[in-house]
């Protein structure tokens, strides 16, 4: 009995960590720049394809492709930000939403053109496969790896935010942009760097997600929904919020499907609607 609960919690935690990696970038950029970037899921997809291409085309080891996925997504996002997104910072939310949805369409079509519509086969190295048995419970090695990476990244992020000058600038800009500019903070550069970081994390998340959920051109759409849910529930601009929301959603999704499979699909949406109704700003949101 206990072992089952632990097993379920562990799986939910791992799933939640994956969602966190995919979503934290969007939460920060939404909170910071007030720019609704629905193409965030497509940057994750980009990271995924980078990994697959490097592994299959060039024979790179999996772990080595991860930083490349991060960088590739970051670079791509900066390119889009400099050329296209910045023109829409003053646009209405609807326009931002539709513009970035247009971008999702284009990137999905491009992925289909370049890689085909098939699911990309991928196998992680053997030392990441299988499971370890502790106290009679099977813990999947890959999920442990996921949780590990996510925790490391969270620590790095929070550390950077709380303890570096750049982090202080980001926090200032999130709290009150005009004031921050007035204090001489180069908000533009802060935006660009934060956006790149956030998208890079999405790319990393995408690369890590393939082993669990698979990769095809519709990845950008499918995971967009889950990412949006995490961001909305966690609150904009809050890393802690995303973390909490991701865990909450990951665990309740897995637990829901385990204990009451008939409502498995409903649970995540019902929780979101309910929570947002009572706390529209999300768990830790500022607005």
């Amino acid at each position: 009995m206990i072992s089952q609960i632990v097993g379920v919690l562990f799986d939910g935690l791992a799933y939640g960590m994956l969602l966190f990696l995919l979503s934290v970038g969007l939460s920060v950029t939404l909170g910071l720049m007030n720019f609704t970037n629905l193409a965030h899921g497509s940057f994750a997809m980009l990271g995924g394809y980078v990994t697959v291409t490097l592994m299959r085309g060039a024979g790179w080891p999996f772990l080595l492709t991860l930083p490349v996925a991060f960088v590739a997504a970051a670079v791509a996002s900066v390119a889009f930000e400099r050329t296209l997104f910045r023109r829409l910072y003053r646009a209405t939310e609807l326009n931002q939403v539709l513009f970035t949805i247009g971008l999702v369409f284009v990137m999905a079509a491009a992925a289909a053109y370049v890689f085909g519509t098939v699911t990309q086969p991928m196998k992680v190295p053997d030392y990441l496969q299988g499971s370890v048995r502790v106290w009679g419970i099977n813990f999947a090695v890959y999920r442990l790896f996921l949780i590990g990476i996510a925790l490391v990244i969270t620590v790095l992020l929070v550390g950077a935010l709380e303890m570096t000058r750049f982090g202080a600038q980001v926090r200032a800009a999130v709290d009150n942009q005009r004031m921050a500019k007035g204090l001489g903070i180069d908000v533009d550069t802060v935006f660009a760097i934060t956006f790149a970081l956030g998208s890079g994390l999405a790319g990393l998340g995408g690369a890590l997600a393939i082993e669990i959920v698979g990769l095809d051109p519709s990845f950008g759409f499918q995971y967009l929904v889950y990412v949006l849910i995490v961001v909305a529930v966690g609150g904009l601009g809050s890393i802690g919020g995303s973390f909490a929301a991701a865990i909450l959603l990951g665990v309740s999704d897995v637990a829901g499907k385990y204990y009451v499979p008939q409502v498995g699909a409903f649970l995540i949406y019902a929780i979101m609607v309910g929570l947002l109704f009572f706390r529209p700003a999300g768990l830790f949101g500022k607005r």
Partner: protein, 391 residues
């Protein structure tokens, strides 16, 4: 002013050209399939099957030239499918309809086929009731109960007494579940658990754990192709469930080539039931696979073979009616047709107009360093079981 006149004359010329193109000795086939969107790959493979057939057998049948008009339905969109079928008949004046990957689209077009009395060939959609929508319809793919009810009986007869089933929670999944349960229980087996997971289900760990708790001797899985087969296989492996300790049964989608590449050796021993695999050992299939790879650089799958056989029916029926295209004549010619398809011997049931084919039981094995589905048993001349039963 001059520009306007030039434009108008060009337009007029185009219109006349288009109108004149419908010569009397052409037979037009309207193909409705998803060429874009989530199911685009299936549409592409189906189209490849059609192209290969025409390349190998020429573009004439019944003494007339065959012309294809393709329409993209974009995905699951029965209202669009119905409109496209109507437009193909009314506007493009096609003589027959073909294609249909997805069930709701096939159902909607079936109505049009019945209303307009046009011959219709379903090349993929696998739900049993589709065939009843129009008396001018035949199917050249397979039906879900054909595979799964037969499989259920087979599984029991080969030594498995209790099974835990897991299927996707939507129409085709329910069909498969019920068919498998029927076949298995009728043969004497016991279903110890039946789970349904949501269609968009990224994470299978909860469901796999539930299955594991029941400690089954065998698990039966049904899910659509795409990203899920590999995901569930990995989830099973993570929990230590693999064919060496638990029998894993599934429909062919579970062990498609892409999925096998992602699963690795943990897939060895999974047993699946399907009506076609590119490794089927027969001269007809060998020629088919070679031609397919040469022309499209891809391995053929069920969508390709369903379309290839669909074209065979169309050509054969037209040859029999000597080019007459009315629905009655073509469907009468198609009934009872029997031939050797790349998948094996198949025929069109004269009573139900549905396909009769062989269901193969395959096991995943490593052959020459690659993982393939090896056929080791089969059940021949399987008809769709639901049409034998009362409604």
């Amino acid at each position: 002013m001059l520009k306007l006149r030039v434009a108008l004359s060009c337009a007029a010329a185009l219109l006349i050209g288009v109108a004149g193109a419908h010569a009397e000795d052409t037979i037009k086939i309207g193909i409705i399939a998803p060429y874009s969107g989530q199911f685009a790959d299936t549409g592409v493979q189906m189209d490849n099957g059609i192209k290969l057939f025409m390349q190998q057998h020429g573009d004439k049948a019944g003494g007339k030239k065959i012309e294809l008009i393709r329409k993209d339905v974009g995905g699951i969109a029965p209202d669009v499918a119905k409109r496209l079928a109507q437009e193909l008949i009314v506007r493009d004046k096609v003589d027959l309809l073909a294609g249909f990957i997805l069930t709701p689209n096939a159902m909607a077009a079936g109505d049009v086929s019945a209303q307009a009395k046009k011959f219709m060939v379903v090349m993929n959609a696998a739900t049993s009731v589709i065939i009843d929508k129009s008396p001018y319809m035949v199917r050249t793919s397979v039906t879900t109960p054909q595979i799964n009810e037969t499989y259920g009986a087979w599984v029991f007869k080969h030594g498995t007494k209790k099974v835990y089933t897991m299927v996707s929670d939507y129409g085709p999944g329910h069909d498969a579940e019920q068919a498998f349960h029927r076949g298995f229980k009728a043969a004497g087996g016991e279903i110890i658990g039946a789970d349904r997971f949501p269609v968009a289900n990224p994470d299978f760990s909860a469901f796999v754990q539930r299955a594991k708790n029941a400690n089954p001797e065998a698990i039966y899985i049904w899910l659509p192709g795409g990203t899920q087969p590999a995901a569930i296989a990995k989830a099973l492996a993570e929990r230590g469930i693999n064919p060496t300790n638990t029998k894993i049964f599934g429909q062919g989608e579970l062990t498609l080539p892409e999925a096998l590449k992602s699963m690795g050796d943990s897939a060895i021993g999974i047993i699946t039931a399907f009506h076609y695999d590119y490794n089927h050992q027969s001269p007809t299939n060998k020629a088919f696979v070679e031609g397919f790879q040469k022309n499209f650089n891809r391995i053929p799958d069920i969508y390709a073979v369903g379309a290839y056989d669909g074209m065979h029916v169309i050509y054969g029926a037209l040859d029999k009616t000597k080019g007459k295209t009315d629905g009655e004549a073509l469907v009468a010619a198609a009934k009872g047709m029997a031939w050797e398809s790349p998948r094996g011997p198949i025929s069109i049931d004269p009573q139900t107009r549905d396909i009769i084919n062989t269901i193969y039981i395959r096991k995943v094995e490593k052959v020459g360093g690659q993982l393939v589905n090896v056929e080791f048993d089969k059940v021949e001349k399987v008809k769709d079981p639901t049409h034998g039963m009362k409604k």
